[in-house]
């Protein structure tokens, strides 16, 4: 269902149910977000903050939705030295809560609302969701390894000390020792939250970005 800018009714469903068969269609896809009041009620941002967010969002994506390519492009501009496409892919999946292949402004706002204004529990939940690639409720070592490699990829080649092949793996081992309480090889959400709450560093750094907006 394609929404044109001249359509009167504002609708909440994103238009990206369209398949990618017709490239022309994709190019003219438009999406209008929900009303400002509705978003204000659903998220923890004020009207002004939502306005600022939307202006930035629409500036970079005039069509109103971000697809994965644009997302990767935007994210890679912040990390010129390394390759941030893999991590951006995971991030995109974390933001795209309804898994329709695009991030609309609502998804964007809801994600940011959790990250910037949510409780620590919600933030940890979000992080767990990010790490759990297949969203089955368990973080396995392979999933964590993928995430870790993606993070290390962002560093690029010129680092000090020189990145070794098994650095991500070692880091994953460290992580699992810390998080995996019953040593069953997977980390569940409860283990994760519990372990993080015990770590002062993590707790403190969760509060780091409070004043970003």
């Amino acid at each position: 269902m394609k929404l044109l800018p001249c359509s009167a009714a504002k609708t909440t469903s994103p238009v990206t149910q369209n398949t990618v068969e017709d490239e022309m269609e994709m190019a003219t896809v438009r999406h209008r977000p929900e009303a400002l009041e509705l978003l204000e009620a659903q998220s923890k941002f004020t009207k002004k903050e939502l306005q600022i967010l939307y202006r930035g969002f629409k500036n970079e994506c005039p069509s109103g939705v971000v697809n994965e390519e644009t997302f990767k492009e935007i994210y890679s501009q912040f990390f010129p030295q390394g390759d941030s496409t893999t991590y951006a892919h995971f991030l995109f999946n974390a933001f795209d809560t309804d898994h329709n292949g695009s991030v609309s402004f609502e998804d964007f706002v809801m994600g940011l609302s959790i990250l910037l204004r949510g409780t620590v529990q919600e933030k940890l939940n979000w992080a767990f969701n990010l790490y759990d690639i297949n969203k089955d409720g368990y973080i396995t070592k392979e999933e964590m390894l993928d995430i870790m490699k993606a993070i290390y990829d962002m560093m690029g080649k010129c680092t000090y000390p020189v990145l070794k092949e098994d650095t991500p793996r070692q880091h994953v081992e460290t992580f699992f020792q810390k998080m995996d309480k019953n040593k069953d090889g997977v980390v569940t959400i409860d283990e994760f939250i519990e372990s993080c709450q015990k770590d002062e560093n993590i707790m403190r750094s969760m509060q780091l970005f409070e004043n970003v907006i």
Partner: protein, 639 residues
Amino acid sequence: MAAGVAAWLPFARAAAIGWMPVANCPMPLAPTEKNKRQDELIILNVSGRRFQTWRTTLERYPDTLLGSTEKEFFFNEDTKEYFFDRDPEVFRCILNFYRTGKLHYPRYECISAYDEELAFYGILPEIIGDCCYEEYKDRKRENAERLMDDNDSENNQEGSMPSLSFRQTMWRAFENPHTSTLALVFYYVTGFFIAVSVITNVVETVPCGTVPGNKELPCGERYAVAFFCLDTACVMIFTVEYLLRLFAAPSRYRFIRSVMSIIDVVAIMPYYIGLVMTNNEDVSGAFVTLRVFRVFRIFKFSRHSQGLRILGYTLKSCASELGFLLFSLTMAIIIFATVMFYAEKGSSASKFTSIPASFWYTIVTMTTLGYGDMVPKTIAGKIFGSICSLSGVLVIALPVPVIVSNFSRIYHQNQRADKRRAQKKARLARIRVAKTGSSNAYLHSKRNGLLNEALELTGSTEDEQHTTKGTSLIESQHHHLLHCLEKTTNHEFIDEQLFEQNCMESSMQNYPSSRSPSLSSHHGLTTSCCSRRHKKTTHLPNSSVPATRLRSMQELSTIHIQCSEQPSLTTSRSSLNMKSDDGLRPNCKAAQITTAIISIPTPPALTPEGESRPPPSSPGHSTNISTTTTSNIVKVSAL
């Protein structure tokens, strides 16, 4: 970083929360926004046309006029707006740059007017977007050429020239005859002598008059001396010219290999060979054939004619098409010659004595020449002969237009491809420069960052503002983000040359020296993953082998070995095993900090493992502690 993307920086920073549970170290503090103002609309009045935009939009680029406090000079108190007495059309593009992050160049605009406006608003032309950059560059080049032409004609009238070396002037004179009158004279003289030489060669063979005895002699033999003198004169001039060019050429080796010089040499060689060999009668026949090469002098005209050069170039570039034409002709000739030979075999007194003899007939027929010296007599021969001539027309007529159109197509294509290649190279270079610029900005600010953080903590605000004057808030936030990534991965960004250096030094450090593991004698030991490495490194007294090649790496998955120029701390295998027996307990070093005053408190559950470790230096040290050693133990935070 583009302005539009700067609007996404809050998102990227928020997403950094995803790294927090993974990181083992505490994160650096976020830069605070001092005097955060409410966003307001400001009015820009440009020659009467009012533009309005948000203040933060303009502040995205703090090093331009509109983004800095320089615009306060244009503030009009009465009307509460900023008034600029400039062109509003160009201002539209400039304001769009702030809004979208891309600077466009309108095609209808004059290049020098546009440049002036850019200079006024403090915007560098290099940031013109890719879509308009080539156009801008082209126009700029044209303008520059126009200016240069004007300058040149001015200079010529005055008669003053920049001082080139004598050799360079000569080369310039040779290549471009219009630079000076002397060059022009030389150009015409050589042209004249080439013509004379060619005409002499031709006239030499014309029979002119008879001598008593009713024998017709060619002029060359009748007036042998005269012709010889002419030839000598021409060859002398050509030799002198060749030697002068050789002397003036900037790259002699390349000049010798060039086509024109080969032609020159071939043109004058026969004369000298003839001089040498006049006494030897046996090779006089060969000598005569050598004179054929004198006709190559006509190719020297190609220096004088632009068209000849272009023709040569296009022939070269169409070599494959020509080759195909030749190949198909050869095929057809062979086929038809064979057929004609066997067709005419029966007839008596046939001229088609062999297949190669039939080649001549086939070629003459296919090119529709038809000399008539060889004609088929049998009926079969005549039939095949007619087929041959008909197909000849086709075989020749078909590829020729293709070749002709190929000429123009390939020629233009080459031109366009070269242009595009140069543009692409330039474009990629610009992108690369932008990327390294952004990462270099981060590295640069990191070095200054120590000072900043120290000042921040001591709470001196004026100094803080002083040092952070250079970086905008957005930049400092971006740098904070990169810093968080560094902390998450326990690695630092460095620039390329330092990286190469480290790699070279690490490869030189592969020789284990026998050294007892006296850990206690190491001071300044820090293994905190949060320690910042200083550029200045000191050598620890008891140097030891880098532990990089420890076999026990597998067991000690927490041991992190750096490759650095510093001697590493090593332990014997036994002691390492001992440590590993303790289980991979948090071997965290107390957080020894290199930076000024930030003290990263260690979690209380951690105990510095290993009695052999020296106590960590007090956190209150100044920034000159050299801290890193090699055997880092990644801190596993205790839970």
